[in-house]
Symmetry: C2
Subunit: 332 residues, 2 copies
């Protein structure tokens, strides 16, 4: 069922850490051939944070998004942190973004939503309903990821795939005469994929202070080929369900903004899932897989470059650890 | 502004770890006098998990909630994990609850919401809007906390305050003739309180593998008196704002279900915030402060004991690390 929500992404912004890491850099330090990296992952370079904290990155992206939206930070009602990697265990990272932004305390409230790579999509669905219902006027969502802290040099593919980045979006009600709207979202989780992408440490199961917790438990474990197999098996039926609830044809979509999971994952959209190459927006080669920041970063860069315009039909789509599949249709 | 959402808490359940820890037990192992513990915190005993995982605890609570709601696990559309302590860094814990429940994979989707002690209130607000808008029919929220893993023996008050528990709620649309509804929710975050309750480890700032990360960083740091001071300063104006948006008098509320933060925090409601002692539901003495599980556990126990009945006016209220204040009014 299509439920039109009269909300718009009023502003988008991003932040990229200063440190640029090329495939040659990784070949030099990990011994993984640069041509192999590009062929298998599709990534040519990515950024790694050094001095930047997750909250600083998120706040910088948020300032750019607020500027585009022409909204003062004092008018933000809610800050949603939509990230996988948290800055610290308690409190939630959005609180530190409120501080970094110098947002007046007590004016807004803060919480985090985590569905790994799809965190931004779940946060956007939540924000759109809260704004459409009139509970809040202005919601700031940011995704700030520092996957580089947990790279596993023993795993060739994931060690070179990820990049760090932050991106942010400001959600408001569409004004009269504006066509911006959120039309439909759809999610499905398959727990048989839970072990295919995981960091088993960092929680109560293997607490950092537990003497049986090994350093390796605090690093990424990803079975790229198995994730790709499960995702490609499920994506077809998932998108059929999605489009059954949406009055749009695939061809009518102006831009498909996928999670930049890997070269093969993004190519699947045109090779087997019914989209044209021209519809699909890429930033994988320069950014890597930026986990939850990937979708909003790709969207933000495409909007600021002019690739995506107001009034166009946009599909945000991807997979996240879980395995979860997600898709969201909006008129930008 | 009051926005009535025709949704109900169709079922509630909980799980308490088997291991019961009395103040005498803590005196024996930590050297903190049992009478001091009860006087300062109000806690007489609490549970600590041993063999139980966070997902197992959450799933057991969820099964009880589904049974009360008379809803089959196959009919759950969304599972929201509303907890502070995650089971592992990736993927989100709700995925593991989907598995523990033997919920058919691909039928539901999973994500986590984290606002420490107020996670359940934010999740309830989100779930209520998604159900009221017709996006989903049945949403399962669970909070499963294992704060005992991060207790800091160097901090007398927090070391004895927390207990482990899980609680769950099933959210559906109210049927014709049912008075159940969610009326109003309100939240405010004050980042000047961010350092008053924190675990600075467990994230990217002090990664578990970082050689500068000390074991102490992975434990609770709570300045109880400072939190109490900030909370008591802000609670009055916060509740004035809350009631300004709600057509209920304080006296018309049948049960106030507070976060069981501490004896002094709960007593504030009757001593300075305008409620009668008879309105307030306690379980602090037997349960301790169960972080995000505290509010839904207190509510669930009160409903199953008959203290709270269908059709009654309920106020859920509390504070969480941030510092965040939250309140939510519903007709049960």
């Amino acid at each position: 069922m299509t439920i039109m929500l009269p909300v718009k992404i009023a502003g988008l912004g991003w932040y990229l850490p200063e440190k640029r890491v090329t495939n040659a850099d990784l070949e030099a330090c990990l011994g993984i051939p640069a041509p192999w990296i590009e062929r298998v992952t599709g990534v040519q370079e990515r950024r790694y944070c050094t001095y930047e904290t997750a909250a600083q990155m998120g706040a910088t992206a948020a300032r750019m998004a607020l500027e585009m939206a022409d909204i003062d930070v004092r008018d933000v009602d809610v800050i949603i942190g939509a990230s996988t990697t948290q800055q610290q265990a308690i409190p939630c990272t959005a609180v530190f973004v409120q501080r970094e932004l110098a947002a007046p305390e007590g004016r807004s409230t803060c919480f985090d939503i985590n569905a790994t790579c799809l965190s931004f999509l779940f946060a956007l669905q939540t924000a759109a309903h809260l704004v459409a219902a009139g509970v809040y006027r202005t919601i700031l969502i940011y995704s700030s990821e520092q996957g580089s802290r947990s790279l596993n040099p023993a795993q060739r593919e994931s060690a070179v795939l990820f990049g760090d980045a932050a991106a942010a979006a400001v959600i408001t009600r569409s004004q009269e005469g504006e066509t911006s709207a959120l039309w439909h979202s759809h999610f499905r989780t398959f727990h048989s994929g839970a072990e295919l992408t995981q960091v088993v440490g960092g929680g109560t199961l293997h607490h950092p202070n537990d003497p049986t917790t090994t350093p390796e438990m605090n690093l990424f474990h990803m079975s790229g080929p198995a994730v790709f197999k499960q995702a490609s098996l499920q994506s077809g039926p998932f998108l059929e369900e999605f489009f059954a609830g949406l009055d749009w044809s695939r061809a009518s979509i102006d831009a498909v903004v996928p999670h930049q999971a890997s070269r093969h994952a993004v190519e699947l959209l045109s090779s087997r899932l019914g989209f044209c190459r021209e519809q699909i927006v890429w930033n994988l080669a320069q950014r890597g897989n930026c986990i939850a920041a990937s979708i909003p970063l790709t969207l933000a860069e495409a909007v600021h470059s002019g690739r995506i315009q107001r009034g166009q039909r946009i599909l945000l789509v991807g997979t996240g650890a879980g395995l979860t599949l997600g898709a969201l249709a909006l008129t930008f």
